[in-house]
Amino acid sequence: MPAPIRLRELIRTIRTARTQAEEREMIQKECAAIRSSFREEDNTYRCRNVAKLLYMHMLGYPAHFGQLECLKLIASQKFTDKRIGYLGAMLLLDERQDVHLLMTNCIKNDLNHSTQYVQGLALCTLGCMGSSEMCRDLAGEVEKLLKTSNSYLRKKAALCAVHVIRKVPELMEMFLPATKNLLSEKNHGVLHTSVVLLTEMCERSPDMLAHFRKLVPQLVRILKNLIMSGYSPEHDVSGISDPFLQVRILRLLRILGKSDDDSSEAMNDILAQVATNTETSKNVGNAILYETVLTIMDIKSESGLRVLAINILGRFLLNNDKNIRYVALTSLLKTVQTDHNAVQRHRSTIVDCLKDLDVSIKRRAMELSFALVNGNNIRGMMKELLYFLDSCDPEFKADCASGVFLAAEKYAPSKRWHIDTIMRVLTTAGSYVRDDSVPNLIQLITNSVEMHAYTVQRLYKALLDDISQQPLVQVASWCIGEYGDLLVSGQCEEEEPIQVTEDEVLDVLEGLLVSNLSTPVTRGYALTAIMKLSTRFSSVNRIKKVVSIYGSSIDVELQQRAVEYNALFKKYDHMRPALLERMPIMEKTATNGPTEIVQTNGETEPSVVEAKHPPPVTQPANQANDLLDLLGGNDVVPVIQTTMPTKPASAGGELLDLLGDLSLSGAPAPAPAPSVPTSQPSFLLDGLSSQPLFNDIAAAGIPPMTAYSKNGLKIDFTFERANPNPNIAVITIHASNSTEADMTDFVFQAAVPKTFQLQLLSPSSNVVPALNQGTVTQVIRVLNLQKQQLRMRIKLTYTHKGSPVQDLAEVNNFPPQSWQ
């Protein structure tokens, strides 16, 4: 059996592969050879084979079959084996493989090995990938080594302890005694790792923090020695002695001095000394200055020192080195909240950084600029930021636009300025604004009553220029729909009113409908806007024509709207003015403002209520007739019944027969007549409010009820009260089927006495699955102005095991709370 190929030989061979396929073939061949070698339990070459495996793993090939082999290497006596074994463990294993626990015993032994380099390997591996279980098992060993006088081992034990604490914070206590004289060490490795360990403990435990505050003088002394001592070749970096240690000490001081006057005072001098004496010509000096500034800003330093720190950052901003400018901006961003005025002094430099060529710097400068905007500088800052928005890379535009909107909202000096600013953003970066900008803007515009004419005029002009930016187009469409009358009557005061006719406006809106640039959402906006203009313009016929054309649009959303608007024209024309009148000022609640409007697609209009059964396209007419009758829609002005109610003279509906036998005992019929017409609009207009239909608090404690239970079909009713109208009860029906066959083509219908109004919304499905595997739900809204006892007649039809089933029932057991 020839010896397995050497590692470096393999590497050379693989590198000669000219294609990915060739490389893969080589790798597979070698892996096969390695696998057989593993199977033969070859001790001699195991190390070489695992090393090769690790190389192939780095190229991206699977190497999990080598995991156990690593463990065998670790257990070997040979140093070469252990070195590769531990490396393999760190590369191939982590806590997610169970097999890693097998390492624990080996590591324990090696932690007590006679050779420090073996101990070092064990500490390193534990400190890099040790799992919580391993850490628990071996913490004691680590703690022992933390107390050794061997500095090589002590420093490794310290960082290993850091890892143990990160994995199992409860073990932190046990390391406390060993920390007693860590800082008295002369060895820089031990000092550095000790400071890291102390930092970790202080960050995790306030008690530890309090305990270690007493170390501040010692830390200050060590730092002072580093700065003052002469040249030390071993630790020198460009004339600075051990910058790594200096920075870590500064960071620990930061943690110890925070919120503590005494500690902060004790470190004041050294901080001032470092801040003024550190050489700034090279990166290493600036690294120390940077950390110093962070520390000064975080502790309770005296004001002179803080000013010094901010000025250092200000100087950083002017440094040629991009990295320095970048960290300056980052630091200023951190301090802008607490030292706002000091940072404001550097505002012009920061704003200049917006023009920096470097992307990272630009981003930081943008973030910082937004943080510096306030009521005093808003005009000037916004000019710069809008200029930035114009010219920046696309990756910035969305964030910048959002920032502009937020700043404008907080500090706008006038409504006109606010709207102008928004317009500017929409026209320059319109395709990058976030989705919620549209409803936010609509709300802003609505509430700026005196600016309506100006706004709609500007938006109209913008549309004439460019219809490609959807958010702009959507807001513009909405405005034109709302304020089109102001547009054509030339009422604008803020600027020269333009002359535009109704037809021209309709041309533009119709143009949006047909343009390829318009998204379906935008088309929806445009159609609704056109519809709204039917109550503001005189060219109603043209609008009717457009609306009827889109009644057969392929786009289901558009079609639905058009059909509903058609219905408005045909059957509900008397309601049209009320439905389409001007929007009231919207209350923007903290959380609900934008989302509510988004729910109704940026428009706060109702979908005209019809119960729709799928598919709507094929049989809209019949369904509409049947169910509209349930609404009592034909009884807008009800016939005053003085005697028993007769069948109302309405079109179509075996359903109305349901009402035939319901006696209205005790209910004086005439009374409601005058009030019903006005109540009807308010009922339907509930949908107009900017609240989602069912965003209400479930009426406290109206108990659910079973309305029907027969032949395996059970229908339960649950109740809510619709906000804001307490006269509306919202009932959700839940239909379940306990038989072994599904009930298909399930249709639920309901009718109520005349003094009620009923709306039935679409069901969740028309199949009630067998064996109670699911429920069909449907929502009923009942308006009960007279507070009469609620009664309902329901009709159920479905197909069960191939045969049609039909049933009628009366529901009388409504809980009193549902109608009182």
Partner: protein, 146 residues
Amino acid sequence: IRQGKLRLQKWFTPVPDREKKKVIRDMMTLVLSRPPRSCNFLQWKDLKIVYKRYASLYFCAGLEDQDNELLALEVLHRYVELLDKYFGNVCELDIIFNFEKAYFILDEFLMGGEVLETSKLAVGGAIEEADMLQETLEDYMSKPAY
């Protein structure tokens, strides 16, 4: 479009393999697309990425929020110096063919993501002594014909 090839990777937190591959891919794309003379820092998700180019190699480090970026540049530089001292005018091929040594050196310099030893001399000395313990020194120290 420049393609990157991984020469060394060290993770200090447990990360699933698939995610490691994605992170590496993302980082390579980000770093390799940086225009020359850009600043050496970039933000990626919640990590600060510090990178420095040395000849044909990019050295990258992922830092947490409280870590000092300027110092990280010094850390990267120190590692390159250590490699240079060990290999004598180190080049990419040295690291390709002796990747395990690159790891050994790294493990004497950093542990758990923190600097372990701040003295170049101490790190170099430790590696030399440990090398002497290698039983198959020939194999280990042989300079391959690239």
